[in-house]
């Protein structure tokens, strides 16, 4: 839950943001254009000093979905224990959003992971490259159109022999 006036202040600063509640969790949807402003406001004025998680959901063929990817920023405050979920929806072909690393250093690996798994680019990230998969990998495995068993990329990689390694 969040304090009641946080939303009012956000609305005053950035215009009305769609807001919903589910099982005691507050969620706001932020358009991509104003997201860096909203996140900066939430950190500096809203008191949300802890970035709990950054992740992404692929809504391909999800019932009733209007957007392809939904970024999820889970924020928390270490002093008041409030929690807030910030949603940002992005669609192909423009899968670029501003990076949150200038605000929270902890976003660094989260964003690299989202880039690695979903192919969403974070502009302004200091070191945006794949983190779990090899650099030569071309697909994004957590997208819904990527099969569970992979596409046989393994066969494209050369076998390293002991003599060469």
């Amino acid at each position: 839950m969040i304090q009641a006036d946080t939303l009012d202040k956000l609305t005053a600063a950035f215009g009305p943001l769609p807001h919903s509640e589910f099982r005691g969790q507050s969620r706001i949807v932020v358009p991509k254009e104003s997201m860096s402003g909203v996140l900066a406001w939430l950190k500096k004025s809203g008191g949300f000093d802890l970035l709990v998680d950054v992740t992404c959901v692929d809504y391909l063929n999800y019932r009733g979905a209007t957007d392809r990817f939904g970024l999820v920023y889970l924020l928390a405050s270490t002093t008041t224990n409030e929690r807030l979920t910030v949603r940002v929806f992005v669609n192909e072909p423009d899968l670029t959003v501003p990076s949150a690393v200038p605000l929270w250093e902890g976003a660094n690996w989260f964003e690299r992971e989202v880039y690695d798994m979903f192919g969403i680019t974070f502009s302004g990230h200091p070191d945006l490259r794949r983190i779990l998969l090899p650099d030569e990998f071309e697909a994004y495995p957590l997208r819904k159109d990527y099969p569970l068993q992979g596409r046989g990329e393994r066969h494209n990689f050369p076998v390293l022999t002991r003599a060469r390694s």
Partner: protein, 408 residues
Amino acid sequence: MPLEPATLTAEPARDEAQDYIWTLNFGPQHPATHTTLRIVLKLDGERVVDAVPDIGYLHSGFEKIGEHLNYNQYVTVTDRMNYISPMANNVAWHGAVERLLGLEIPKRCQYIRTILAELSRISDHLLCNGAVGLDVGAFTYFLYAFNRREDLYDIFESLCGARFTNSYTRVGGVMHDANPLFVELVRKFVRTFPKTLEDMDRLLNRNRIFIDRTKGVGVLTKEEATNRSCTGPVARGSGVTRDLRKDEPYLAYKDFDFQICCASAGDCYARYLVRMAEMRESLKIVAQAIENLPSGPVNVDIGERTAIPSKQDVYSTIEGCISHFELTMSNRGFEVPSEESYAATESPNGELGFYVVGDGSEVAWRARCRPPSYIHFAAFPHLIRGHTLSDVVAVLGSLNIIAAELDR
């Protein structure tokens, strides 16, 4: 498009030649890294100039699997995420699913889950602290710690038959009720464990070598800890007082009397002390919970159609028979809202949360795990810069990196 092998066999680009800085590959299977971690260290003599963690060697792909296994089956995957304290992961996963379903579990189940979460915290901290001791040269200490893990395995075995990968929880309850042997073993553990903690304290707390190796090493300030999303003992060692057991009570934590353990130095020694103190507090919780274990059912009511009914019900009642059939057939089972929610628990290493997206089917649309080790490892290069090569193991041990948690 398939990749061209030709582009991969070419010589990798080399850094600018610098005659005084050399590169050391630490891991993936170095004895001191415990798991498959690889760190590329840039060294100036003994001093670490920079460290580049390279992860992704396990490739379990557990988030993708979460989109293909149903809510009950996935619990076996959570065991493998942090195999040092699998019960804590079980509890976290089904806590998140129950949050999504809006399900209230019975009191007895809450107590049992609380006991298990705390026992796995002790088990995790024993291994972590023991490994720190081992890495800086205190081998006896490691044996003291590891010996008691055996008792904890006995407790888990008495409960669910498995020692290591337990998979004990279910949606809306647990696999089956706790038996008298479990209660007896827990009571015995509560009685005998303080002696071990005392011995461990005496062995290491004032040990000159240990203090010299850990004090002032890998210092993380309070602001940095929050800024880098650290939680759990790593953050509490730096003075962050956040603990979800107190701040956002879940399960039965409201009923118990315990303290949050913090230190202010933020170095390896502070993290070690926080873990030692947390084991004592966990033991307090376990002692209170086992003595006040409520009676009653462990699973939600059969009318809810979420928990798998007992065999007794399946064979003797029509309701139980239908319920069991519905829950085990594909494309049937309980109703999941097309919604998404996040539920977090205070796992031994910090905040372990699951972001679950339901789509109405029996399989999660997305099962996102927020693993503490992954976040702590990201802070590792910051902690190790300027220290010596031998401090790498001390810092790694005090962060308690589990390689399986680093993977997605």
